[in-house]
């Protein structure tokens, strides 16, 4: 009777062990792809700075569409001295050439003495005609904010920022009262419209890798999927430890 009970218990343990072993193997197969995927994206994120992932812009239309980004490309621009400025939050183009400066959406551009003055609501960018940035003026450097208009008056640059202020060098400002030719936006000609396409919304590669790693790229249920994978990792660890110590006891 006792021998039979002992035999049953051994049989039960063996059956549980075999089942657990099978489950452990299958869980390993199921999560193996995720392990490779998480390790690769994890490595990339760990070295995102070195790999400069944050500065690599991805403009692939289907990725933008997947993220729900609609192609808002500027249809208007600003012209001065025969040069065209196009800009939005993605960047600035002077005659189709990207300017290496962050400004935000421009509200106007004027040209005086071979220099271009580009205003956004809270900054003023001064460029040479070749596109080299002379200076970017922020709040401390401006006579007022927000800038609502930029214009020209007798070779002086005038900003409307509450009151009107004029400068001839972008360094010293004085209140101005008088006639001003204000810059206005104009519809872009065909060649500029084509150039404006590179200002379509983009995502940084780091952002995409982060979203792949966390599962967010798959929408609301992506993180839940990764949670489920994490749970399988935990079960794998638990079953692995159980089997290891069970074998050692023998």
């Amino acid at each position: 009777m006792t021998a039979s009970k002992s035999h049953d218990a051994r049989h039960r343990r063996r059956t549980i062990g075999a089942t657990l072993h099978r489950v452990h193997r299958w869980m390993g197969v199921v999560v193996s792809l995720f392990v490779v995927f998480l390790v690769l994206t994890g490595w990339a994120l760990n070295h995102a700075g070195t790999l400069d992932l944050g500065r690599i812009s991805v403009r692939t239309p289907w990725i933008a569409a997947w993220y729900g980004l609609r192609g808002e490309v500027p249809a208007t621009g600003h012209a001065a001295s025969g040069r065209w400025l196009i800009g939005n939050e993605e960047g600035l183009l002077l005659d189709g050439k990207r300017i290496d400066a962050k400004l935000g959406a421009p509200i106007g551009m004027v040209s005086a003495k071979g220099q271009f003055y580009i205003a956004s609501r809270d900054q003023l960018l001064i460029l040479y005609s070749g596109g080299q940035v002379i200076e970017r003026l922020n709040s401390a450097d401006l006579p007022g904010r927000p800038i609502t208009r930029i214009g020209l008056a007798q070779e002086k640059i005038v900003l409307q920022a509450g009151a009107a202020f004029a400068t001839s060098d972008g360094v010293s400002w004085s209140p101005y009262q008088g006639e001003v030719t204000w810059a206005t936006s104009q519809p872009l000609p065909a060649d500029q419209l084509k150039a404006a396409q590179i200002l379509a919304p983009s995502l940084s590669l780091e952002r995409i890798v982060q979203d792949l790693h966390s599962g967010r790229v798959f929408g609301r249920y992506g993180p839940l999927l990764m949670d489920a994978v994490g749970l399988i990792f935990l079960l794998l660890a638990a079953s692995g430890l159980w089997m290891f110590f069970r074998h050692r006891r023998r």
Binding site: G49, Y67, D141
Partner: protein, 172 residues
């Protein structure tokens, strides 16, 4: 299903955009920084980054300068510099007061990165006080880093060295 996924992604994107917008932290208005430095600030002057000094600036920054002239304020003895430098992806705006070729005060004015804002704390910024520029264009004081804010610390170090270098050029 796909529409719902797209809607979820769009919501997430909008949230991130709003979050990113809200990320710009102004810790000290530039006007307040200048008032701290001078009481009544003197009018600004500009230092042109000419071809002669451009290689040194590039060596300090590790990349070409993003502009051709730098604005500063001076009362004849000390100078104040408001500089922008990218930490990881966004500009960090910092102010430096230089007196007699050493840093009198360093402050973080605007921080735009999502991580690493600890560089704004006084305990970190105090390390810069008294630092000078060596002949190798390095700081004469060792600046201890902050875990998780390495790129911001490096950006602060570059700006400190640049402020000292610019001060030297402005005094010539």
């Amino acid at each position: 299903m796909k529409n719902r996924l797209r809607a979820a992604c769009l919501t997430y994107w909008v949230f991130l955009c709003v979050y990113a917008q809200a990320d710009e932290q102004v810790y000290l208005a530039p006007e307040v920084f200048l008032a701290e430095a001078f009481g009544t600030p003197p009018p600004p002057t500009v230092l042109w980054i000419t071809a002669a000094i451009q290689p040194d600036v590039e060596k300090i920054l590790g990349h070409p300068p993003s502009k051709l002239r730098q604005r500063y304020w001076s009362d004849g003895i000390k100078t104040a510099w408001i500089l922008d430098e990218i930490g990881k992806e966004e500009f960090i705006t910092a102010g430096f007061i230089i007196n007699n070729d050493h840093i009198e005060k360093a402050r973080v004015l605007v921080y735009r990165e999502s991580r690493g804002g600890e560089v704004r704390y006084a305990a970190f910024l105090k390390q810069f006080e008294g630092a000078q520029l060596s002949d190798q264009r390095r700081l004469t004081k060792r600046i201890d880093g902050i875990s998780g804010a390495t790129l911001s610390v490096w950006a602060m170090d570059r700006m400190a060295r640049l402020a000292l270098y610019f001060h030297r050029q402005a005094q010539k």
